[in-house]
């Protein structure tokens, strides 16, 4: 857990003020300390990768950012002002969209209903204001197609989708509603190669629109392909932040493994897993 020289704190790729800044976040679950003081920020138009071993606290950390957990200690600044999100809805209304690792989908509900859950498009006025199902269906099918999935129909229950199809719904939803910050917790884990490359391309596109992206992944190659900055967590603490180009894949991979040695295969894994 040495402070690798290639790592340096605070120096960022651009000089814009961060949208969200998290300072010394701690989070305890009963007697378990999941986060022991993590600082982190996201700037507009950058993709900030959050990396780390299993159980390092990545998901817990982004959940405090999106209003699911209240931090035990630490401060959150949103566009410079201290802020606490009481519910995920607050965070969402502030412009933060998240793909959670568990996807936050309701298996019994249809794809469209899941896609628009909490933010249904309406038509008609006052008492006749109603859920615009046709438009919702169209939008949903179209967004899924953009990600490389041709759904059979917008009314298929999410519970009967394949793992990757389901994950794509969650990603498409977050991208569609992501206003200022898009948080993606291992978005590509269940995706096929084509869908993965679409997601990476999508990250690139939204970043260029000035949205800040937080990208969690275990895949070094994916992280390096789209990331501008890389923060590595280890056992609830941050190991530091590196900027793109400053660090080689092998170094990053070592850091992500928490400094521990990896098993060697006779097969040709060729450096990075």
């Amino acid at each position: 857990m040495s402070d690798d020289t290639k790592f340096h704190h605070g120096d960022t790729a651009n000089d814009l003020a961060p949208i969200v800044q998290m300072k010394d976040i701690e989070k305890h679950f009963g007697n378990i300390i999941a986060l022991a003081g993590v600082s982190f920020d996201v700037k507009p138009g950058e993709c900030h990768c959050l990396l780390g071993d299993n159980g390092a606290g990545k998901s817990t950390f982004i959940k405090t950012m999106s209003g699911v957990h209240k931090p035990t200690k630490g401060e959150i600044y949103f566009e410079g002002k201290p802020l606490h999100f009481d519910t995920p809805r607050d965070a969402m209304e502030a412009g933060i969209a998240t793909v959670f690792q568990d996807l936050a989908m309701i298996p019994l509900m249809s794809v469209t209903r899941n896609f628009f859950m909490g933010r249904e498009p309406t038509k008609g006025k006052s008492l006749f204001k109603r859920f615009d199902v046709e438009q919702a269906n169209d939008v949903c099918m179209e967004e899924m197609r953009k990600m490389g999935i041709n759904l059979r129909g917008p009314d298929q229950a999410v519970g009967t989708l394949s793992g990757g199809e389901r994950q794509t719904v969650a990603i498409a939803r977050a991208v569609y509603f992501g206003a200022k910050i898009l948080i993606l917790d291992e978005p590509t884990s269940a995706l096929g190669v084509r869908q993965t490359s679409n997601v990476l391309a999508t990250i690139d596109r939204v970043r260029n629109q000035g949205i800040g992206v937080v990208f969690i992944s275990h895949n070094v190659r994916h992280a390096l392909a789209v990331g501008d900055r890389f923060t590595v967590l280890n056992r609830g603490k941050t190991l530091g932040t590196a900027t793109r180009g400053e660090i080689t894949p092998e170094e990053l991979q070592d850091l992500m493994a928490g400094g521990q040695e990896m098993a060697q295969l006779e097969g040709s894994l060729g450096g990075t897993v």
Partner: protein, 368 residues
């Protein structure tokens, strides 16, 4: 960014007959049960059961139960229970009775007061459930006892010792709002129909059916409204989501707590509506009103396809579920079965109706 692929028909989808599509809707599953029960009684029951009067007769309790069941169904879809609705019927009936009899308030004041009062109690229920994180089963169970007890105490105070409060009919009789909540609608129409002989009359010439009991109209309106809300409004989506998975819904931005508390208030208001209708119809209220109605309402909702675990079901299902229940309970009295066997038949019919439902649905949709 890849261009969106052209929309092509999927070779992996078999074409599906219209009937199958229909049966897949939870609303319509319960219909098979209604049909079965109908056929059963068409064969076994006295022919008077399916005269106009007979239909009104079994639809009246079905409607009263159904108003509760629709509320209960929405709440169940939203992932919670309310066991206090039966007691709520007694309690808001008492409140309403006291308003009109003791305080002599006109209906235009008494009825909104009763609804507000019921909604408040429902809100308390809901808030305790949300704040404490306890299962709603146990919280509303406590209110089952509390409200039932308070009804008894209140009745005794209001009447000076009796468990029956009487005289409601006399005071509301001439109120202009009364026809909306009691008696029969379209009385004129029915009288005319009787005159010209379209509908049956008693020996004395009065029409056998003086009109459509208002509760039936309320029941239908509520079923339609609830279905509309569930299927065609954002609120409906939130209800399904809250019941399906609280955490996932809340993480996706659904205001789960607000939805749940509103549903508790709605359910309580349904109970108040039934209380107002029955108190005005009966002209009295007593400490046992609505006894075990919570149970029957949940039964009707479950027959209609609601899952106890939440997140799935429909208002139309509860509508048909109530009709099944009402038809079986009243229908058995039109048959020649000995009353001793009543419960056996009731249970048997319910079981057969839901099994049949289920079998038909599975067969039609090709589920395993």
């Amino acid at each position: 960014m890849s261009e969106s692929a052209p929309v092509t028909a999927d070779e992996r989808v078999k074409s599906e007959p219209f009937l199958t599509k229909l049966m897949k809707r939870p609303e319509l599953g319960a219909m098979a049960g209604v049909v079965l029960v109908f056929i059963f009684f068409a064969i076994t029951a006295d022919s008077s059961m399916f005269t106009l009067a007979g239909v009104m007769n079994f639809m009246t309790p079905a409607a009263q139960l159904g108003i509760l069941a629709i509320g209960a169904a929405l709440l169940m879809i939203g992932g919670e229970f309310d066991l206090s609705i039966g007691s709520m019927v007694a309690f808001s009936g008492l409140f309403f009775g006291v308003c009109v009899v003791t305080w002599q308030l006109p209906l235009i004041v008494a009825i909104p007061m009763t609804f507000v009062f019921a909604a408040m109690v429902g809100g308390i229920n809901g808030n305790i459930v949300i704040r404490s994180g306890l299962p709603s089963f146990i919280v509303t169970l406590a209110f089952l006892f509390i409200l039932r007890g308070l009804s008894l105490v209140g009745l005794k105070m209001a009447t000076g010792g009796s468990t029956q409060l009487r005289g409601v009919r006399d005071v509301v009789e001439n109120d202009w709002l009364a026809p909306f909540f009691s008696g029969e609608a379209f009385g004129g129409l029915f009288a005319w129909m009787a005159e010209v002989g379209i509908i049956d009359t008693f020996k004395n010439g009065a029409p056998k059916v003086p009109g459509i009991p208002v509760e039936i109209l309320w029941f239908i309106v509520m079923a339609l409204a609830a279905t509309y809300v569930l299927l065609r409004t954002p609120a409906g989506n939130w209800i399904f989501a809250s019941g399906g998975d609280k955490t996932a819904a809340s993480n996706s931005g659904v205001p789960v707590n607000r939805v749940k508390v509103s549903l508790f208030m709605l359910t309580a208001c349904c109970a108040a509506l039934v209380a107002i209708i029955t108190v005005m119809d009966a002209g009295s209220t007593d400490a046992r009103r609505g006894f075990q109605k919570e149970f029957e309402a949940i039964i009707a909702a479950v027959i209609g396809g609601c899952l106890l675990t939440g997140g799935y079901g429909s208002a139309i299902g509860a509508f048909f579920g109530s009709i099944i229940f009402g038809m079986v309970v009243i229908g058995l009295t039109y048959t020649d079965f000995d009353q001793d066997w009543f419960q056996v038949f009731l249970g048997g019919m319910l079981l057969i109706a839901v099994l049949f439902n289920n079998a038909i649905r599975k067969r039609v949709t090709g589920e395993r």
